[in-house]
């Protein structure tokens, strides 16, 4: 893989345990779907790196291609794609997200 955007994503998800590719920033999300995932992660008590795809057109397209997933937000945990807004919300409602984060040792605060 020689695509420089792919290389950037690969190192981002390798170096940070939880990465959310989103529109806007965790403090100022610019899309309701991104905002919802930020809210869930905060509620679960998981520190994460938010990456604003709106700041970089190549990244915005590149992340869709990299993940083979046509929409933003996209959540990566320990290098693996977990899902977008619907999946994160379903997992949260089922208690699966909290269990997964705990199992991987990523929860810092009891929610």
């Amino acid at each position: 893989m020689t695509n420089p955007v792919f290389q950037r994503i690969e190192s981002e998800i390798r170096e940070n345990p939880v990465v959310l590719y989103m529109k806007g920033t965790p403090v100022f999300p610019q899309c309701g779907f991104s905002a919802r995932v930020v809210q869930i992660l905060s509620h679960v008590g998981v520190p994460f790196k938010g990456v604003n795809v709106l700041e970089d057109g190549e990244l915005r397209d590149g992340i869709k291609e990299f993940t083979n997933w046509p929409t933003i937000p996209q959540l990566y945990v320990k290098g693996e794609f977990v899902g977008g807004c619907d999946i994160i919300m379903e997992m949260y409602q089922a208690g699966e997200l909290q269990a997964m984060m705990k199992e991987k040792g990523l929860v810092t605060a009891e929610a």
Binding site: F33, N68, W69, P70, T71, G84, C85, D86, E90, M91
Partner: protein, 103 residues
Amino acid sequence: MPGRPDLLHAMMNRADRIQAALAAAFAPATVAVQDDSHRHAGHAGARPEGETHYSVLVVSPGFAGMSRVARSRAVHARLEEEFATGLHALALRLLTPDEAAQP
């Protein structure tokens, strides 16, 4: 696309096309498509002509044994043409009949 009734297809709106594509791909399936575009008017990704934001429910036995990500990818794959022509957001609820029957 050979064999497709293009004229009829051109007359269908995006919700109808999504409905038809998913009903065919995941048969026997219950498919419900809701156009939410008006609720996102003026946002990034919205277009004046609408047809950008949808919520879709598919209940199909075909999802059994598939992960959440795999189910969504299977749906995305059937809608590539829609994503290429302005479909911006797709909220998906993808269930097996057993899951749909749970409270």
